[in-house]
């Protein structure tokens, strides 16, 4: 009995092989979190008439790494990245036309310890004495950039001035006890027991729960609505198939799968089961000014605000 059970996946795999030998092959380069969702969505796509002859080669990794690999020549027909910033990298390299689609949404949340012992509800709770925060390093991680812009935007939404909101981010970084190189490393650090709060994507937190990790999260009243971009490469030899797949991504069947894996749908006809918040804003919000502007103001390695904030926090003298 046991043996036959083990055989089933193998037999299933064998039935998929003929499809893999079909006419067009799409190579998808994506960031890490959507991997399990994409596996299901691609399966569903291949069961539709439009997708039955399309096979996929997939690559998953940290978003910026993936974008850089593609701009350095890694073959790709379409990319699914975690920030518009990373798509802009490809636009600047002349590989992607400006103006990209959105495959799914998520929000910035606070992952907390069992039962939320430090009563973390809003952004200001993060500054209470003794609260330790884990967030990745903004110079290597897209997730960290979202977190910082969410913190800043939330303060602006609460009526703070640009200066006060920037000071908030600076104070927040005094509570940061680990700045891992990627969002998934930061999740590991938090799950290993470091810190009281992890700033992360709602989808990442739900994904960790689906994998059986014990993680709880709080959605603050003011938070960033994260739009996850998907784009077809100009030089793709399978543009038609790629565009068909992107249309499928936005269609109800695919959107429902995204929802199952913790993402928020972008198709209005699919019910969004995840709670809305009164103070949700986007990166194009006036205060933040879009990715190009935010990247220059906050994350420029020479003159960005984060360079100064890291210095003020660690400071050569307090090291």
């Amino acid at each position: 009995m046991n043996k036959t059970k083990k055989l089933i996946p193998i037999l299933l795999a064998l039935t998929i092989v003929p499809a893999a030998a079909a006419s067009s092959n799409l190579s998808l380069v994506a960031y890490s979190t959507p991997k399990p969702a994409m596996a299901k969505i691609i399966q569903a796509f291949q069961q539709t008439p439009a997708g039955k002859d399309v096979s996929f080669s997939q690559s998953y990794g940290p978003s910026t790494n993936q974008a850089r690999a593609v701009s350095a020549g890694q073959p790709a027909d379409l990319v699914f990245l975690s920030t518009g910033d990373d798509v802009n990298l490809l636009v600047d390299a002349g590989l992607v036309a400006p103006g990209y689609g959105i495959a799914a949404d998520t929000v910035v949340v606070f992952a907390v310890r069992d039962g939320n012992p430090k009563h973390i509800k809003g952004w200001n709770d993060l500054l209470r004495p003794g609260v330790q925060v884990v967030t990745p390093n903004p110079f290597s991680s897209g997730s960290a950039k979202w977190n910082i812009l969410a913190a800043y935007g939330a303060e602006r939404r609460l009526g703070k001035t640009d200066k006060q909101a920037t000071a908030y981010v600076q104070n927040l970084f005094k509570h940061v006890v680990s700045q891992d190189t990627s969002g998934s490393n930061a999740t590991n650090t938090f799950l290993a027991g470091k810190g009281d709060v992890l700033l992360t994507y709602e989808s990442e937190a739900i994904n960790a729960r689906l994998q059986g990790k014990n993680i709880q999260y709080v959605i603050p009243r003011q938070t960033m609505l994260i739009e996850l971009p998907v784009a077809v490469l100009k030089k793709s030899s399978n543009k038609d198939a790629a565009n068909t797949f992107i249309r499928f991504l936005k269609s109800p069947p695919a959107q429902r799968l995204f929802v199952q894996y913790g993402f928020r749908p972008v198709n209005k006809s699919v019910k969004n089961p995840y709670p809305s918040r009164p103070g949700m804003f986007k990166v194009d919000d006036n205060y933040i000014g879009g990715w190009r502007h935010a990247d220059k103001v906050w994350f420029d390695p020479k003159s960005g605000r984060m360079v100064k904030i890291e210095q003020a926090d660690g400071g050569p003298t307090s090291g």
Partner: protein, 260 residues
């Protein structure tokens, strides 16, 4: 010792392709914005602090290895105990393990959920521990063969003449194994300077506190600052080169009697 032109040609070509060209490319990349770009980046407080921490940690780890690596080599060669061959095989394991796994091990063992109640993760102590782990084999493996070859008759003669153990070690054994120790120390230092896989897991990577040069360089390549990354890498390489030259010079000095 005359090298024939063919051999010399092979050696030169090999070294050029494998070592010299990549290093030249690195130096070239570091001054992509001209020398002013290079100077700018190596004077910034964050990369400088990361560089300083890297060098201090690598030096501490190399020195610790000099003492404990020699001790381990001594025990493996001169003593015999049950399970000796097993211990001998364990020494090389850190080389076989992807260092990111070493980071995860140290995190599990000395992290916030430590089963032994040692909470070192995300501190400099954790960096020190994990670097010791990944550099362990160097000194052991450079000292061991020398100890094997060492004739114990001289030591016995010294003892029979009334020399105490400490004197026997420092006057007879140490001079013979010193070159081995120094080679091991130099390799351990270089290896520690370049380590990253375990560090990204265990250090917490806090600028000015636990951020090492390798991680700063990684972060900068991610944010498109190839020049800054190459500048610090070049400086790191230059300093490591000087240190390795220094260790080599000391080694030459220590073994001058053999060439006399």
């Amino acid at each position: 010792m005359d090298l024939r032109p063919v051999e010399l040609g092979f050696v030169t070509t090999f070294l050029t392709v494998v070592v010299a060209l990549p290093i030249a490319a690195l130096v070239w990349a570091s001054r992509a914005d001209g020398w002013s770009g290079f100077w700018y980046w190596i004077r910034q407080p964050e990369p400088l602090s990361a560089l300083k921490l890297t060098l201090v940690m690598a030096a501490l780890v190399a020195l610790t290895n000099a003492v404990f690596g020699t001790l381990i080599a001594w025990v493996l060669v001169r003593d015999s105990f049950v399970g000796q061959r097993l211990v001998n095989a364990v020494i090389d394991l850190p080389f076989a393990l992807p260092t990111i796994v070493a980071g995860l091990l140290v995190l599990a063992l000395y992290g916030p959920k430590s089963p032994v109640h040692v909470h070192a993760a995300f501190t400099r102590a954790a960096i020190y521990l994990v670097l010791l782990f990944v550099t362990l084999p160097f000194v052991v493996r450079t000292v061991q063969p020398v100890l094997h070859e060492l004739d114990t008759q001289m030591e016995e003669a010294a003892r029979s003449l009334g020399a105490r153990e400490l004197v026997v070690f420092t006057r007879i054994v140490l001079p013979s194994i010193l070159p081995g120790i120094l080679s091991g120390v130099a390799m351990a230092f270089a290896r520690a300077v370049g380590e990253i896989g375990s560090i990204v897991i265990i250090s917490g990577n806090r600028p000015f506190r636990t951020e090492l040069a390798s991680v700063w360089i990684l972060n900068q390549t991610q944010s498109g600052n190839g020049t800054g990354a190459a500048a610090l890498a070049t400086l790191l390489l230059a300093i490591s080169f000087v240190v390795l030259l220094g260790v080599g010079g000391f080694r030459r000095l220590a073994t001058r009697h053999e060439r006399a």
